[in-house]
């Protein structure tokens, strides 16, 4: 029987309250949202906490998907407590960033998706986690709040290593912001051993086109090394060029060369490199097709 070690439990009544509780309790305290990463780790005694702050009542403050102008920038703001199911079902995201719906369809299963949250997924910082790859691909910004105020950290600086993030002990990830730019298309591809499993390898791709030319492109990979990886070299290769099958193949080769997969029970490093190549190609093809079909 797997049961967590004893801890104290308290429910936060507001974001400020949650931060105050974390501040009082120091590094033995942790926030729980959906609980589908943290509770299994607590059950296995990989995470031993003295104090758990439940933020599930903070939906009014932390659960939303909306497009707004922030500091003059057109962004989609996603609250950290937004659940997988809401991300899957969001028409706004499906319209602007279909990579979210692609990924959410293959994250865990519908029952788990009823609970798990965007913020929890990013803060778990598992190198195989899909939403981290999605947010890396989209060059998202993470809004982190503490008692001293709010700071904004780009995805590339958010993950410090496996299971480590830029969020300090008495801070809370409150929002993810995804910049909206014209001519966008995005897609996500994942190979898993069975439905709902962690990825053997996943690849996200986003492109921004202007008059048939790639203005910007990004690729993010999951499960290919100690970090959820974004690959700037792929973007550099694609920028300023017209999409073609040959270009897509070069991007795939760069992705395969730029990652560091390890052999484990999900597959050999060689197989994962092959997947990084092929999934990058597939995601890019679909991202380009969507960008060409997009009206915004």
């Amino acid at each position: 029987m797997q049961v967590p070690a004893p801890f104290e439990y308290e429910r936060a009544t507001s974001v400020d309250h949650a931060i105050a509780l974390l501040e009082q309790r120091g590094d033995g305290a942790r926030v729980i949202a959906g609980g589908h990463s943290l509770l299994p780790m607590m059950k296995l005694r990989l995470a031993n906490l003295e104090y758990v702050v439940d933020i599930n009542d903070l939906g009014d403050e932390l659960s939303y998907v909306r497009r707004e102008t922030v500091d003059g920038a057109d962004v989609v703001r996603i609250g950290a407590l937004t659940r997988h199911r809401d991300l899957l079902e969001s028409e706004l995201l499906a319209d602007l960033f279909p990579i979210f719906r692609d990924a959410e369809r293959v994250i865990a299963d519908p029952v788990v998706r009823n609970r798990g949250t965007l913020g929890g997924s990013l803060c778990q910082a598992d190198p195989s986690e899909d939403l981290s790859a999605v947010c890396s691909t989209l060059d998202a910004l993470c809004v982190i709040r503490g008692s001293a105020g709010t700071r904004v950290v780009p995805m590339r600086d958010f993950h410090r290593g496996p299971y480590e993030t830029a969020v300090a002990d008495a801070e809370l990830l409150v929002e993810v912001r995804v910049p909206v730019r014209p001519g966008a298309g995005s897609a996500y591809e994942k190979v898993e051993r069975r439905a709902g499993d962690w990825a053997v390898v996943s690849a996200g791709a986003a492109v921004w086109l202007d008059g048939g030319t790639i203005v910007d492109a990004r690729v993010g990979l999951a499960a290919v090394g100690p970090h959820t990886t974004d690959l700037p070299a792929v973007g550099e290769e694609l920028r300023g060029r017209a999409p073609s099958e040959e270009l897509v193949a070069r991007a795939g080769a760069l992705a395969a060369a730029g990652c560091e997969p390890a052999t484990d029970q999900r597959g050999t490093a060689e197989y994962k490199r092959h997947l990084a190549d092929q999934l990058t190609r597939r995601a890019l093809r679909r991202a380009v097709a969507r960008a060409l079909g997009a009206t915004h």
């Binding site: 029987m1 797997q2 049961v3 967590p4 070690a5 004893p6 801890f7 104290e8 439990y9 429910r11 729980i32 609980g35 589908h36 509770l39 299994p40 607590m42 059950k43 758990v52 439940d54 599930n56 865990a108 299963d109 519908p110 029952v111 788990v112 009823n114 609970r115 439905a195 709902g196």
Partner: protein, 167 residues
């Protein structure tokens, strides 16, 4: 700590350790052993209950987190007279063999039909994709849920007929 929630329509209050998982609260504190405890790792789905009408794996939720919410278990499915159509569907279509996965399957089926009364087969398969039937009786489980959907559609048709019947 004290936790209060509604279980199958009744308010219950119990003293629990904060680390008590919802599945053990239901089974050990309330004696509601219809909810099964399986893999303990949120993979198998036999522990699925409804929390505010949404299916949740109760091995991966603290009882404390369910405080103030409405929990529905397989014991709460039966109608005042007779079985819930999803239960009857499993009877009619051989939806269970060993029965271990059945409580979770029934609760997910109930939530699906409440949200989507006429799901196609792909939708049903997706809805139960987080649950494992180790007897591999998925085909009959899908048929059982389809039976329930037809039964409930017929009930709705009957209920909407004018009093005195259609001439």
């Amino acid at each position: 700590m004290q936790v209060t929630m509604t279980v199958n329509g009744d308010e219950v209050t119990r003293e629990v350790e904060p680390r008590t998982l919802l599945v053990h609260f239901l089974r050990d504190h309330l004696g509601l052993t219809g909810t099964h405890w399986g893999c303990d790792t949120s993979n198998c789905g036999t522990c699925v209950v409804l929390v505010d009408d949404e299916p949740v794996k109760s091995c991966t939720m603290l009882a404390a987190m369910a405080g103030g919410h409405a929990v529905r278990t397989v014991e709460g499915l039966e109608r005042p007279v007779g079985l819930d159509p999803v239960q009857q569907g499993f009877v009619e279509c051989h939806g269970l063999q060993c029965g271990f996965c059945t409580p979770g399957m029934l609760m997910t089926a109930r939530a699906l039909l409440d949200r989507e009364p006429d799901p196609d087969e792909a939708t049903i398969r997706e809805a139960i994709s987080g649950q494992i039937c180790r007897c591999t009786g998925y085909a009959t489980i899908v048929r059982s849920i389809q039976w329930a959907a037809r039964e409930e559609a017929a009930e709705r048709a009957t209920a909407s007929e004018p009093v005195g019947g259609v001439r």
